[in-house]
Symmetry: C2
Subunit: 504 residues, 2 copies
Amino acid sequence: MEAEQTYAEFISRVKDIYRFRGMRSHLGWDQQTMMPEAGAGARASMLAWLAGQAHNRVVDAEFGELLSNLWQRLDSLSEDQRCNVREMKRERDKAILLPEEHVIKVAEMTSSSLEVWKKARVSNDFSIFSSTLEELVELARQRISFLQKPGQTPYDVLLDDYEHGMGVADYDPLFEGLRERLVPLLEKIMASKKDLEDIVIPDSAVFDVESQRELGLRISEHFGFDFSAGRLDDAAHPFCSGLWTGDTRITTRYDVKDPFSCIGAVMHETGHGLYEQGLPSEHAFTPRGGAISLGVHESQSRLWENQVGRSKAFWEMAGDWFRDAFPEGPEFSDEELYRLVNKAEPSFIRVEADEITYNLHIMLRYEVEKALFNDNLPVSKIPEMWNDLFEQWFGIEVPDDSQGCLQDIHWSMLAFGYFPTYTLGNLYAAQLTEKVCEELDMGIDSIVESGRTTEMLDWLRREVHIQGMLLSPSELIESATGKPPSPEPFLDYVERKYGSIHGF
Amino acid sequence: MEAEQTYAEFISRVKDIYRFRGMRSHLGWDQQTMMPEAGAGARASMLAWLAGQAHNRVVDAEFGELLSNLWQRLDSLSEDQRCNVREMKRERDKAILLPEEHVIKVAEMTSSSLEVWKKARVSNDFSIFSSTLEELVELARQRISFLQKPGQTPYDVLLDDYEHGMGVADYDPLFEGLRERLVPLLEKIMASKKDLEDIVIPDSAVFDVESQRELGLRISEHFGFDFSAGRLDDAAHPFCSGLWTGDTRITTRYDVKDPFSCIGAVMHETGHGLYEQGLPSEHAFTPRGGAISLGVHESQSRLWENQVGRSKAFWEMAGDWFRDAFPEGPEFSDEELYRLVNKAEPSFIRVEADEITYNLHIMLRYEVEKALFNDNLPVSKIPEMWNDLFEQWFGIEVPDDSQGCLQDIHWSMLAFGYFPTYTLGNLYAAQLTEKVCEELDMGIDSIVESGRTTEMLDWLRREVHIQGMLLSPSELIESATGKPPSPEPFLDYVERKYGSIHGF
């Protein structure tokens, strides 16, 4: 076959694979936002079927032949085409090493384990989840046994699944360096707190859902989210789905006692949504048109949630929006709103954590997972290790497992190795912001104040979004910022910001 | 291959075909209820892709071999299995007669023609739509040329597409007989109107959307719709989608000046939804578990909308619900509400028509379509024929084509031959109701008044819903009522009802 014809046949199959995945995302979005409860059984089986259809097409022998053929003449392909061949090859190389019975077992397991985890968390009883968790860890170990390459530690295999190219040799020193500056920073903040008046939401305050939603839409639009090509819906666990070209959907949740839960979620998911809306639609249904990694995705959500949404300038503008949305009060000043969204203190729940302790939550999970897979920590010892480390780093004692090792959904979905990408996102976000500030020659507060976030978005579109999967995550960060990924911009950012709030 | 193994392979392929269709329905529902406008392009291409995937699997040669093999040993199969083989064979026998280029042309045409029709209707300009309509008619004629069997008139081919087994030889005398009694009935109603006080909704009245929705939910639940296995959403053109087992979705629309538009739509779609919720879930993704025909589907919607929802007893109960929903008035009595939902008079728009004129609207479309396909009526002559027939049967002059031959979406979707199934639904609904009344030994008003509609639903579940596609539409009606389909019960019903309202 001619190269051109081979590539055409290859890419047509790739698009079919992505169509099945698109359908799966769509039904996943629907499951979490629209589906009536009695639809759960049929939905689980459809999601499994769609996953199977995609998987079969990836491991298909003829598809493999097309791939090897193209792999041998990479030089004759365009840059975009090479990207598609490279990424599909990487995916297939992993997929064919997994026996079908393992794939089926994984699908069965993850659809049932979620319910067990939910029950354990609600009952606050680790023993309900522990035997399921043992099976999940065993499945992850099997995956490792099929995929481990020379030079990789077992946990590296899982880490690589979620951020290609990253392993313990990268994360260990990175996290060590972060901890060295974050733990003392947190101590300084806590020490200085006694001098600051504590801003709190009065117990009597009620923030109605419709007003929260209107405010969320206003913020999301201000950030640049295009609602003619997207939606905002409700979900118990907020997420973003870049379903189709021209159709990106974000979700949030509402707590009538605390509007910042919704506001934070909208900002965060808007960041993800802007990335999805900025992906090159001419490459839809191919790797070239997709997001490069979870870490880079998280950098986009964190940048809008934290660097922009938790800036002083943002609340000097949005303070009025907030007070307009809730005319019955409580009437917070701009400064008070800024302080409210930037409270840092040790707390038990990751998703509610501030910008500093958030990363300590991640590192704790990283250490536990590393111990599980590299040091064979028994599952029964997880609560103990979790609680010990927590007390050591946060200085407070975990009261129960629901506020400890049972709090996250990830393990029940077999997503071991996923957590570190959240911290990567925080670091990339700060590094990208630093570079944008350099380019526009002003601080982030000035950018936000002068309404030049549109220029910032243009820059992100150009340097990050339209790149799709063309570059690896670290190549992308280096190409955008001129420097390899580094924790320095993030550490500088939080030290500066919290120093200014707490006067040190 | 052993019979059992052949059947297993066959049914596994059938389920895949139905899964693609399920996805298509799901994306179709989403398109009309959730999709942001910029998603239209990608959505059209996904819908076409899913249709293509299903079509390819139907015409697939190996699937054909499995089917012929099973067809030759039908006697060795169970009743359920025979149903699946028979229905898939009928479908495949048609599909393989259609050349691929015709199928592609149809897909392309119907995704673009909808927009042209919309524009023509809004602009009230038939000339905008006429060349597109000519192409659509030409495509339908091509379809006829591929499928026509000896003894069929051209239009029969299209009629059979929507209600298997029905052709002009069936519809002509049926419609003739209906017209003979409906036209004089309408004249009697109009003549008696001068003696009746006219009940109208005051121009100043406003019925808020949220209250309409609450009232709609209340009615739908009262009819038996299970909202743990379904939803109610908004759509410009109300419809029902029985998407998945345990997941049936109905839609309605809201007019703040006229709550009966929403109430009628909810009742109608609830009837469709009850049928979907009553289909045998153990046969999901196969013909045995599907609705037998459009006519039977419409019988379920009409029965709940008309026989129940427009009954005197219903409004004697729901009058309070209505007044509770709209405490600011206007305060209609039960009797006034009953009269409001049972106004009969000539009007231009089919979907707003009463129970009597509705069928005249259908017959008019039937005559126009029959002239198009059996007598080669030129497309340019449609407005003239439409308007002439309208004046003859309704006694009023069509003011413009938007209120005439441009009002319906069907032709733009190539659905020639679809309309008559609406009237079949009306007839089946009346015949089924007559039988239920016999079984419960009381009139429909007594059933509604005594809350025994749950028993009526049980009877429909047993006699209609769980039958799936086991019997043909007419066999099903005969099996349920003991008599072949007949217009008598319907004519008796409307003559009795309108006679009692208008005192003749």
